[in-house]
Assembly symmetry: C2
Homo-oligomer: 491 residues x 2
Amino acid sequence: MLPLQGLFQRQHHFQHLLAMAHWDQATMMPDHSAEARADAIAELETLCHQQLTAPQVEEWLNQAAQDSTLDAKQKASLREMQRQWRQAAVLPEQLVKAQSLAGARCEHAWREQRKANDWQGFAANLKEVVALSREEAQIRAAATGSTPYDALMELYEPGMNCARIDSLFGELKTWLPGMIHDVVEKQRSLSIVQPQPPFAPAAQEQLGRAVMALLGFDFHAGRLDISAHPFCGGVPEDVRITTRYSEQDFTQSLMGIVHETGHARYEQNLPGDWLKLPVGAARSMGVHESQSLFFEMQLGRHPAFLARIHPLISEHLGQRPGMDLANLQRLYNQVEPGFIRVDADEVTYPCHVILRYEIERDLMNGALEVEHIPERWDAAMQQYLGLSTAGNYRNGCMQDIHWTDGSFGYFPSYTLGAMIAAQLAASVRTQLGDIGELITQDRLAEVFTWLRQHIWQQGSLLETSELLRQATGEDLSARFFRAHLQARYLD
Amino acid sequence: MLPLQGLFQRQHHFQHLLAMAHWDQATMMPDHSAEARADAIAELETLCHQQLTAPQVEEWLNQAAQDSTLDAKQKASLREMQRQWRQAAVLPEQLVKAQSLAGARCEHAWREQRKANDWQGFAANLKEVVALSREEAQIRAAATGSTPYDALMELYEPGMNCARIDSLFGELKTWLPGMIHDVVEKQRSLSIVQPQPPFAPAAQEQLGRAVMALLGFDFHAGRLDISAHPFCGGVPEDVRITTRYSEQDFTQSLMGIVHETGHARYEQNLPGDWLKLPVGAARSMGVHESQSLFFEMQLGRHPAFLARIHPLISEHLGQRPGMDLANLQRLYNQVEPGFIRVDADEVTYPCHVILRYEIERDLMNGALEVEHIPERWDAAMQQYLGLSTAGNYRNGCMQDIHWTDGSFGYFPSYTLGAMIAAQLAASVRTQLGDIGELITQDRLAEVFTWLRQHIWQQGSLLETSELLRQATGEDLSARFFRAHLQARYLD
């Protein structure tokens, strides 16, 4: 295992520099530096790929596989090394470099094109990204015997595939439209007012930091900054989350910060002694999203949590019309079909994911072309949420960063994460007690200890399904998510 | 030349990522991430060193040296490649890695140790840095037949050595003490008051940006941020300058920004088409410093420039006691022996440099040990400037960042830069006219065009001495610097 450990430690160090260069690109970098940055990132990504796929690595992996002295942790470590190697070795170096360059170009241009609602400009770049991703998907699919889209999803959610997603999302589709209807009806009579703007970004930032501290974010090993599209980046030793502030509305940014803090605590609490090896990394994108959604949905929007942070909100933003606790509790649990995924409530959110899943699946499997995305998007939005996005690219198919750099296969993770979060919360409830009571009794630390033990400190020791079984006693099921929505919005 | 160009282009890309990681380390990074960052930087620095010193590089260089078809630019390019290769190849990889780690550790700890005046804590780290730098200096000296310190100075100022420095600094020593005495006497009767604080950092920053814009800084390819020790970092395509704000005094930060803007404009205007090759890089540290000092001393503190930016100062900081133009002109040209190099006026500044030069020269040549630095420092400060720093390490030998990461041999560049700047300004005066009149007539663009043509766009095409001869018609001489001081402070 020693030469493998050396290799993956070097990769960890290079990934540190790449993560920081990406973070800087989204938060700090001036606009004319994009090309130089893209060139620099592509160079190191190419090198990482070369080192991971060098001829001797396969030999090292084969030798390690025959080592009968490996303990459970070492076996898991080897399994994750094999997975990374397999996923990297199958791709030609030139493709990796071309994707890095095209993705950086497309993403950078998108930041302005989205503002300008410039679909034609964006589509030209996106076609290049899609063409390269299809090439990648076909190469991966040919190697594993799966469909192209399944092969990409494996990168984000190992062990997942379209058959399982279709089953899980298919179940959602049977009851979700009815539930959205019922909740909207139930909430129709509620009086919900928007807190009165303006809210100074500096005050919002101070509030955000106070809530991050309450949620245990370690500011000695991370930062909060601003970017066009909020994300959690950096490295486990230096976790960088971002948000964006609107003077008109503090509520989205505040809950966005709670969300990213969930990602951040997972990263900040990964097992330190294995941190430089793949087995020490976060399990999957779905599990990652389950932590952010646990923080946002199970904790953050809980009426008891809002009661807990209401004094902080008043302290930083003052008392104004619409800032009373009862109104904020209604506002943060309001269900309303809308255009923007990142602004969606948790009841309508799966609709945004399912439509993106269906589009990117067909795009990668060759059943859809870039120029037809807007009409597919519009049709699905009308069908699932009763809204039209015709001509409104900015708030339609140009709203997300994911496709700009070719991250096809990622979107399902959001709804898988929501389901996992609900399932974990059900176990917390069984083992520790009602979450509202835990919050009210200032016992959040116990919840974090539970998550640390069952999820964060596990790293990638177990496969996702086994991780979930050990934490909750059973396989992933949509029924916990349904029960959570039922309890919060209809009971 | 093709394989060499590929190699140096890769180095350029990796240096981009390293420069950004260093910038982030000084401006953004949370404190517990220092070790992970140091590991990551050391890994890529080691790789750069490996690639630059790989066995085939010497062959490529030898082949290129026999190529009779090279034009002047290619010949200069090859000369700089040979220089970089020679400087890198002589060092063992383990030493490079150990220096990177020890330097990062020492620099990071210094940020707190300086505040705490903790010489003992700092000395422990510095000894490690000095031991490694001596090892480096001895290896370099053995390879070139020079003294250890000369071998290090060659890294920053190719072609320079102690004999020449001793001559130039020796000349300064004959007239500078007398001049300091005369200027202090002349200014004794001047009424100079400190502008009345406080000055909000946000307003100072806005003022700084306005002055940077006036000086032609390209904000599309660079940034202004905050760090404990101001510097100009990043890469030519993305130049990052920093400053630090004191609420008690805006004047130092403002002129610090003018200084770093001089460095930045040099970087931002290097020859774009050779940028990824060594011939496209800045010539030397002395030439770099000549640009920052041209901006700060020849332009920034000129009474006419202060008159030009006085409306901006009033606009951003308001009108208060001590903010009138006449007082600011006196304040910005006040000569007063003090503890801090970066706060020193240009008349006493060479004393700070000469004492550091003498200490680091003896330290590297083995004639001085770390534990005796404070007493040497104190003795020299008393001799040159009549001030004692006994026990005051924070404002004595712990004030600079340079030694923390082993940058021995750099300090002479500051005073070489001051001399070069004065010599360049004399040529500008001959060719374009009096600098005060150029400023008053809003003809700064002509000065920048002159610098762009004679210095910035030259990159490393010429050796420093030839660059200076082509720009000014003669070799480096201290007489222009003396004439400048005489004219500004005594005539």
